[in-house]
Subunit: 345 residues, 2 copies
DNA sequence: CTGAAAGCGCTTACAG
DNA sequence: CTGAAAGCGCTTACAG
């Protein structure tokens, strides 16, 4: 019942703990014979090194922390999958925490992770996060930190992102290309960098095409949760205020789907009356009807890349040769589907 | 840069490590004055106990392990959310691993968690798991184990489940009630208990209503991944073999959505030509068109319940009073939507 | 090739 | 009220 220790093996074999330890780790200065005996006994006794002791000695836990705003979103669960699978390959375990888009929780969780002494931290910020001292805290402790998707530009650490501005520009340009004349935007909350960038991309596309920029056509997802409900809510408002709008670029697929549901209820046809482009390419978007034109965002790859970068930095820190921070931008793609008309020739 | 230890505090205050430790933990036999001094200094130095050392001494890690077949499924990501939120409340961290429906991986991951010396394990089995020695291994080590959703009846541990048989019975009964005459079933893989139970519920409903049971109407999701593709595949087969079928009870929403997509492609109307009931009530099912009639399965609650049970057992084991295993069955509900006709009077 | 010893940072039974 | 000491299980520099 009690776990087997090095001492148990040493006693049974009448050798020292030192030798047992070395034998198991294939040190060159242990005789082949001894190694054989030790390894065999370790196996039959089902010896497993006590991680707590190893961690204490080695000052590392082979564990990383991950903080995401939400888990139950297709994009984030894909990222998680990417991170975990990559971490496993390198022998790292992942502790996952969800900030629920709350700054308070996020701060507390970073603290938790730090006192758990994880070897590194991966984070995607909550919408509510405007103060970054908790992140600087990580860096000050000399722990590697990699941010992904929802980042803070101001923090000096590696970041895995997409070019939100460019992607949003392309989405808006597509609406223009198919002939939309009045293009609205449902944007995300005010703080997150990516909702700012998507908004700027939208605006730039308009201006580059000599469209007037009309602030009243920009609807903010007020609850800040990018939900189905917010899409419905904003669609209702839009219908009331601007029934001349013929195209909308929407911050997130889920919001777009909410909007489409609301339009359908009011007899407004997509894409005949209004063309819609979403963002993220959730699986759902390919099975609803009409299927949703959107920007594909590589979640799984983002997760993998984030871990890889963190891993490099953890190794570098261990070798006392800290790496410079790096910003990696992943490619996105416009996926044309039924919610937007075909391009005109 | 180097983390602050008890020793650092003791030296600065010219008292013993023992007293510092006791003061921080509010032992009654330390003077108020000393406590004050220690706590203040600990705060200014930003002291955080070294978890590795605490774990080693206390023989517990305040960490649990979680193994799920997939993360990127609405049902499972909801469960994960439930587990994490509950664990956080009790001061536990969660290490998450994904078995990818592979027995080999699952076994390896359980081993990993065990050698990481987590305090308890939460698991939902892979479809491929037919051998359970790795689970017995957990129990033999005296670690609490709680299974949820995809369980093995044979293992003696607590389980959080739904009554799959009853839920499937209700789903099938609903198809009968609305007038279906030829009812097919798309079932899950052969091994998992829940796909067996859902199949049995389907069969029993038929027999109780004096419908003949026709094995050729039962399609197995061969890939075993309960995917969109499998739904399409089986729908194609069904259309070829049995174009008289007017109702299908499908093992999982995602498969049902795949089937509906295929039917639409072939001009088969849901629910006019074929009525469909899914299983799980994924969010997606409420936004596709037609919306999908399904069985609501309480993922978030299942996660919460699973952690609560594990927590009780961890506490009990610590107090040397192991608890008897418990099977908790959560309620499900039939959610009637557009993919099935209204009931006849 | 083998082993005694120190030390990682903590907790707690025990002595005073 | 305070503290010396043992010990959790490991790793590794050092001596032989």
């Amino acid at each position: 019942m009690k776990p087997v220790t090095l001492k148990d093996i040493a006693e049974q074999l009448n050798i020292s703990i030192t030798t047992v330890s070395k034998a198991l780790k294939d040190y060159p200065d242990v005789s082949k014979k001894t190694k054989g005996l030790v390894k065999e006994l370790a196996k039959t006794l089902n010896y497993k090194p006590n991680t707590f002791a190893v961690n204490l000695r080695m000052k590392e836990s082979k564990t990383i922390g991950l903080v995401v705003p939400v888990i139950v979103h297709h994009f984030f669960s894909n990222i998680i999958k990417g991170i975990i699978s990559q971490a496993e390959k390198k022998g790292y375990l992942v502790i996952i925490l969800q900030s629920n888009e709350s700054y308070e929780l996020e701060k507390k969780q970073v603290d938790l992770l730090l006192s758990q002494r994880v070897d590194g931290i991966l984070i995607s910020l909550a919408n509510g996060t405007a103060d970054f001292s908790h992140l600087n805290g990580i860096i000050q402790q000399g722990k590697p930190l990699v941010m992904f998707d929802k980042i803070a530009k101001i923090i000096k650490c590696s970041k895995i992102i997409i070019d939100d501005r460019k992607a949003a520009y392309n989405a808006t340009q597509h609406l223009i290309d198919i002939g939309c004349k009045r293009i609205a935007h449902f944007r995300g909350a005010l703080l997150p960098q990516n909702s700012i960038d998507r908004f700027l991309g939208y605006k730039k596309a308009l201006l580059d095409n000599n469209f007037p920029y009309d602030p009243s056509l920009v609807y903010i997802c007020e609850l800040g949760d990018n939900s189905f409900e917010e899409g419905k809510e904003n669609a209702r408002k839009l219908l009331k205020d601007h029934n001349d709008v013929d195209g909308i670029f929407i911050n997130t697929d889920l919001v777009a789907i909410g909007a489409m549901t609301e339009f359908k209820k009011h007899g407004v046809k997509v894409p005949e009356d209004i063309n819609i482009v979403g963002f993220s390419n959730w699986f759902m978007s390919s099975v609803i009807s009409p299927t949703l034109t959107t920007i594909d965002q590589p979640g799984y790859k983002m997760g993998k890349t984030a871990f890889k970068q963190l891993y490099k930095e953890m190794k570098a820190i261990k070798n006392k040769k800290p790496l410079p921070s790096k910003i990696i931008t992943l490619e996105t793609a416009l996926i044309k589907r039924e919610s937007t008309k075909s391009e005109m020739e």
